[in-house]
């Protein structure tokens, strides 16, 4: 009881006001526990791996790096490399990608007023896949696979948006159709690349398409995480506006939220982080579709809560899937396969049990 009072007073000092009938403390509590869950999952994941290192060693190494007084020279060099250079950046990247995909999934579903939309609907994934395969087949022409994937992923969405725009308006149905069209064009282009590539390049393209964190490094984390975190905060900030947008264009207008302006802004940011995530780790399905559903199930449809909850669930989910991917067998399984195999039954379960509540 005393603890609850203390928590409330902290919130109130931050500008939060409570009123009978609008119980948001419970939702804030759930958000905090989701954050805790993600941290716990990350902590467990560090200590798991094919190469056996004792839990105590793992935490000694992590603490040595994290605390300013820590001394890293005292620890075993091999252990240090495995934990600090391989596992930690990999887990951080998994969190980042999970946050990016789940957040943009929630934003896309809100903007498109459709709970079955995922962040790849406007062709990001096919565009990025084409970019990546270009980079793989013609390494001499492209800076890196990642840059080329990012550029083509963004180009695909921009094309879809331009195609769909008529007389200063972007009707949702046209936009989705344009996304499907652009997506299929780029898929065909990917097939061409597969057709003309040699065996090793083909193998690499196929692996890229299945997605995975095999090459995660601190460089990736440093590049992707700040952008994703900043974008996530911006999108969270617009949570209430997203509620209004999801009521439809005319409603949004009468409530003073310009649908054209805000949809463009939100979709652009969501595309940016999706594109970054895809270009770094390949195509990972289901996270962007499923996590917003799970968040809505826990907290209701208010996007001020759905966006952060989906983000943390996405991070947690990818930590779990990636840990399975690297520990289940001695060879790595592409994480995209695991997210799909675990995700499909979950969505099926949702449809059969809670379908009405979620889909109306």
């Amino acid at each position: 009881m005393a603890e609850e009072l203390k928590r409330l007073s902290i919130l109130e000092r931050l500008g939060y006001e409570r009123i009978e009938g609008f119980s948001e403390e419970r939702k804030v509590g759930i958000l905090i526990s989701l954050l805790a869950l993600m941290i716990v999952a990350a902590a467990i994941a560090i200590s798991l791996g094919v190469y056996e290192i004792s839990v105590i060693d793992v935490y000694n190494i992590t603490l040595a790096h994290l605390s300013p007084l820590g001394d890293t020279s005292a620890v075993n060099r091999l252990y240090d490399t495995i934990v600090w250079e391989l596992r930690v950046p990999r887990i951080l990247l998994a969190i980042t990608v999970g946050v990016a995909l789940a957040t943009s999934g929630a934003v896309f579903q809100g903007c498109f007023r459709n709970p079955l939309v995922e962040p790849y609907i406007l062709g990001v994934s096919s565009g990025a896949a084409f970019g990546a395969s270009l980079g793989i087949v013609y390494p001499q022409f492209f800076l890196s696979i990642q840059v080329s994937a990012f550029v083509f992923g963004s180009v695909a969405v921009a094309l879809a948006y331009i195609l769909a725009r008529t007389r200063d308006e972007t009707p949702i149905v046209t936009l989705i159709l344009a996304g499907v069209i652009i997506g299929s064009v780029f898929s065909a282009l990917v097939s061409i690349m597969k057709y003309i590539s040699n065996d090793s390049a083909l193998r690499e393209i196929v692996f890229w398409l299945m997605g995975g964190f095999y090459y995660a490094s601190w460089k990736d984390v440093a590049l992707v995480s700040p952008v994703v975190i900043a974008s996530f905060l911006v999108l969270w900030f617009f949570g209430w506006k997203l509620n209004i947008l999801s009521m439809g264009d005319e409603e949004a207008r009468t409530l003073g939220v310009s649908p054209e302006k805000y949809k463009f802004l939100l979709i652009s940011i969501a595309t940016l982080i999706t594109s970054l995530a895809v270009s770094t780790v390949g195509i990972i399905a289901w996270v962007g579709l499923m996590m917003p559903h799970a968040a809505r199930l826990l907290l209701g449809p208010d996007h001020r809560f759905v966006v952060p909850a989906a983000a943390m669930l996405g991070g947690t989910y990818l930590i779990v899937c990636d840990t399975l991917a690297r520990t289940l067998t001695s060879a790595e399984i592409p994480v995209g396969i695991i997210t799909s195999i675990l995700g499909a039954p979950y969505l099926f379960y949702l449809l059969r049990t809670r379908g009405r509540a979620i889909f109306g």
Binding site: L14, G15, Y16, E17, R18, I19, G21, F22, G110, R113, N114, P115, F237, W240, K241, N243, I244, S246, M247, G248, E250, E251, R253, T254, L255, G256, V257, S258, R296, G300, P301, D302, R356, A357, I358, F359, G360
Partner: protein, 277 residues
């Protein structure tokens, strides 16, 4: 408060209305009345800047709406659409709270006052018991009441209501009209379209009658809802009677049958009376 001048609008080449003009004074409850497909909703959408009209002007609160920014418009005018269904199961209180959006400021935005206003609006309509139910699982009539509450929570000087009573039961229809009258008495200007000639003639201060050629009549209800005007838009379907001093619009068929029955009854009655004697 609301002045529409010489408004022209067409979808592509098909004109919807040409040269529509009317005025609504501050605190007036004005009914917009006309047959299906005559462009009432389109007129609303032009006034609310959902559609761009080709010629004419709409002036609200002394300012031409083409100069109004969308955020400013939302503080001035609220809109109750014909009922619709959002894809996500927002709770009723959340939907009503959305009405406060134009007034929100700061990072945390939604403060105690906004939440109180939302709950008050629910109480005004006497639907506080629905507050915690998912909006998209309510009946059509209940959803209309919720949208009305949202418009009240929006706290604007002008309200546009597109057939606010179309899905309501009899008692709720009357309740909504009563509430609109109360809101108008507090100084809010209301334009509501309706298909019931009796409702507009009983409850409105002013009625604007429209058909496919534009405005047919405009003025106080007893001047406007007359057999002559109704004949012009409904081609001889209605008749206007007076019932204990209150004007009633009735279908001619019913009115004729009624008078037949009355005469039959009275004849039967007379015969009985004669028999008793």
């Amino acid at each position: 408060m609301l002045r529409v001048r010489d408004l022209h609008f067409s979808y592509g080449k098909k004109p919807v209305f040409e040269g529509v003009s009317f005025e609504v004074e501050e605190g007036e409850l004005c009914g917009l009345f006309g047959p299906n497909g005559c462009g009432k909703t389109t007129l609303f959408k032009c006034c609310l800047k959902f559609l761009k009209f080709h010629r004419g002007s709409v002036v609200m609160n002394g300012i031409d709406i083409t100069d109004h920014r969308i955020e400013k418009m939302a503080k001035l005018v609220a809109y109750v659409p014909q009922e619709h269904k959002p894809p996500f199961p927002y709770l009723v209180k959340e939907v009503v709270l959305m009405g406060r959006t134009p007034h929100l400021r700061g990072v945390f935005g939604i403060g105690r006052k906004d939440k109180e206003r939302a709950l008050n609006a629910l109480e005004v309509l006497d639907i506080g018991h629905l507050a915690d139910q998912p909006y998209n699982q309510l009946s059509g009539g209940q959803r209309q009441m919720v949208l009305m509450a949202r418009a009240i929570a929006q706290d604007t000087k002008i309200m546009f209501l597109d057939e606010p009573t179309s899905a309501l039961d009899f008692s709720n229809q009357i309740r909504i009209w009563e509430i609109m009258r109360r809101v108008a008495e507090e100084g809010v200007t209301i334009l509501a379209c309706s298909h019931d000639p009796n409702h507009v003639s009983w409850f409105c201060n002013k009625v604007v009658v429209m058909n496919r050629n534009g405005i047919v009549a405009e003025g106080a209800p007893h001047h406007v809802i007359t057999e002559q005007v109704l004949d012009e838009i409904y081609q001889g379907v209605c008749t206007v009677r007076s019932l204990g001093g209150t004007r009633m619009v009735m279908p001619k068929v019913v009115a004729d049958k009624e008078s037949d029955e009355i005469s039959i009854e009275s004849r039967v009655g007379m015969r009985r009376a004669a028999a008793v004697r």
